[in-house]
Amino acid sequence: MKILTLYNNGRSVAFGDIPQTTDYQEFAQYVHEAMANDTYHCVSYFGYPNADALQLIMCLANDTNGTIEVSSFALKEKSCPSLKIRAIDRFEREIAENFGIEFEGHQWPKPVRTAPDDYPFYRADDEELHEVGVGPIHAGVIEPGHFRFTCEGETILNLEIMLGYQHRGVEKLMLEKPLLSQKAMLAESVAGDSAVSHGIAFATNYEALCDYQIDERAAVERMIACELERIAIHTGDLSAICGDVAYQLGNAVYGRLRTPIINFMQKWCGNRLGKTMVRPFEAPYDLTPELIADLHTTLNAYEKDFTQMSNKIKRCPSVLSRLERTGTVTREQAVEIGAIGMASRASGLLRDIRSTHPYLKYEGQVKPVVKKHGDVYSRTQVRIEEVYESLALIRKLVDNLPVAQVSHTDEPQLQANRFALSLVEGWRGEICHCAITDNSGKLALYKIKDPSFHNWDALELAVRNNEISDFPICNKSFNLSYCGHDL
């Protein structure tokens, strides 16, 4: 089996270099061998209609040597055997949904993004069991999604999540919208809480397709923005976790602490969520010395209160009793479903693109936080410690900002027949953007994968045998994106 080895370095390759096989056996064997242990994980698997066949492109990331292996299979029929790998199941479902391909022997052949009325829910007909359906419209300010619980009394036996209510056709719009600014805005809207991360993934990808490298200062500024986003969202999530266990003090203090961070984003780029912060080929908002001084003041004040509150949580028995041993995802389960990002690190599985597949200037800058237990408390701890990690990194970066180079005057153009893949570690986990250009140098395919795509499975596993009243806290500990999944 021939494979193409890439690095997450913002370079594109000729599309024709992606090896293509017509032997499914060979393809499946390669994937099975790679996915047999936890060295590899699947970053993307998608279909691209090419000539008379559907080219199924498989991108596997090797977490030990920082490579990304790309291979493909040309599917000429309307059906093929399923790979039967849990971590790839959802990708197959997506291909089935988009191209009407039947994956024979697929264990969970259900729609991913269409949310039909006759969705085939898993059912357990028993007098002793009862079903609780929650959503798609929920109380509070959250996105739509349907949760179907099968319970025995207060205990959850099974949870099935039906998503797709937020499907906007982002990938299609990406090809249709003519202006670069429109495309960038679309990328930022994939998931509103990861605007900067998705912005970086898009920009890197687009620059790779244009064979353009941004200067060091712009790269470092992108890192700072991304880490600020991580701090802001982690803090907001900590506040929400406290709120869900009715711990008012934590809810109030963390809630307040998020504000100065996002207010700084507003001062920097004019938007509290960091929209328009990242644009291809440029750094639209310079980090001026005044802003840097402001940032230091903000972070110092933030860290003092954050430390005080975090120490308090660690010593508050009523909070700990709610978080510990709740919503556990074991390491084996995390490997099986291909969990990534923060959720995987809380289960003892080191998956952090910043350290395994460094991009921008991340090389050697981050020591990933890994916890063992995989419960809600582990995910809380990962958040707390990652905030410290990000604080240290931001301080280091702003103190050593490189000088800006003179930028190009004319906008670089997309090159024809290229393939680019960019991985970015957002606060939730690995974001993957893939793009292919056609003969005329236009985007022919744009594929987005938000970490939620993998991690919704983790939530389904986490709540099993927990009390139904603990579902909200489990859900909040992951805080997955509905629109990032639905696209």
Binding site: H130, E131, V132, G133, V134, A139, G140, E154, C242, D244, V245, A246, Y247, Q248, L249, N251, A252, V253, R256, C316, S318, V319, S321, R322, T326, E467, I468, S469, D470, F471, P472
Partner: protein, 297 residues
């Protein structure tokens, strides 16, 4: 009559005081003390919407609930002055008239045929069932101390400010009664009245389908129930001339509200399966109290 009027008066500020305490503890400005009242007034002006799946049970339940709490309030004396309703063993009547109201709340929740409300109803039924022994043990121990079986005689003959043992016993009773009040009124650490998450709710989820006037009635009844338990606790401490008694009454009510507010600010709620253990331990504490009273007095 006096106690009934005072309970109504206290119910006007009790909930507001809890909310105010919580917002001050959280460093927020928070709403005024009479905000809950304003909410209720707004609800009273609104029309009521009934789900088509409900029957007459759903419509009469809020009224019966309110009536039951009013009746219970009428049983509460003020020191040596009897309440509107009084007879030997009226505390049993008090407990079960409250249960009647709760029973109607529960079947109304089931009547709404929503999966959430059934869940809340079963939780509410379980916790009030567990809290019942604690209440009777407390009442039993007070009647043991006083040697009487009706509210007014009990409180008239209760020598709370006697020796150290009596003072101690009274304080323990007050704390246990306060915890029972928190369980019955669905406060932390049993329930979280502030949450928007249906799956974790107990009381709030039962009244999801109620709206307008009915909801206003249920909320104001809740405030009254609080003040009623506050009055019961206050009765343990009443002493001196009338003016002083009234002062003590409001002081005790305010202390109870602030104590609840502070508890809710600095702790998380229990995991659902710890609630029965907690309520049982309250009943156990009450039992210890009964035995020590039998032993020492």
């Amino acid at each position: 009559m006096l106690s009934f009027a005072l309970i109504i008066l206290a119910s006007l500020f009790f909930s507001g005081l809890i909310v105010r305490t919580k917002s001050i503890c959280a460093g927020r400005k928070g709403p005024g003390i009479f905000q809950p009242l304003k909410d209720v007034r707004r609800l009273f002006k609104k029309g009521t919407v009934y789900s088509t799946s409900t029957t007459f049970v759903f419509r009469i339940a809020p009224l019966i609930y309110a009536a039951s709490v009013l009746m219970a309030c009428a049983c509460i004396p003020f020191g040596g002055k009897p309440g509107l309703i009084h007879f030997e063993g009226d505390f049993v009547f008090f407990a079960y008239v409250l249960s009647l109201g709760k029973f109607f709340c529960i079947i109304a929740a089931l009547d709404a045929t929503s999966s959430f409300e059934g869940m809340g109803a079963s939780r509410e039924a379980l916790y009030s069932m567990l809290a019942e022994p604690a209440f009777f043990l407390i009442m039993g121990s007070i009647s043991l101390i006083s040697g009487h079986t009706s509210f007014v005689d009990i409180f008239a003959n209760l020598n709370s400010y006697g020796d150290a043992f009596h003072i101690g016993a009274t304080i323990v009773m007050a704390v246990i009664l306060l915890i029972i009040a928190m369980v019955e009124s669905s406060r932390l650490p049993i329930d979280d009245p502030k949450t928007h998450l249906e799956l974790t709710m107990i009381h709030e989820v039962m009244i999801l389908d109620n709206s307008g006037f009915d909801l206003g009635l249920i909320l104001s009844t809740g405030y009254m129930k609080f003040a009623m338990y506050g009055a019961l606790i206050a009765n343990l401490f009443l002493a001196g001339p009338l003016a002083m008694s009234i002062g003590i009454f409001f002081l005790v009510q305010a202390v109870c509200a602030i104590a609840i507010g502070i508890t809710e600010s600095f702790m998380a709620r229990f995991r659902m399966n710890h609630n029965p253990e907690f309520i049982f331990s309250v009943a156990a504490a009450a039992l210890v109290l009964v035995f020590s009273i039998m032993q020492f007095s």
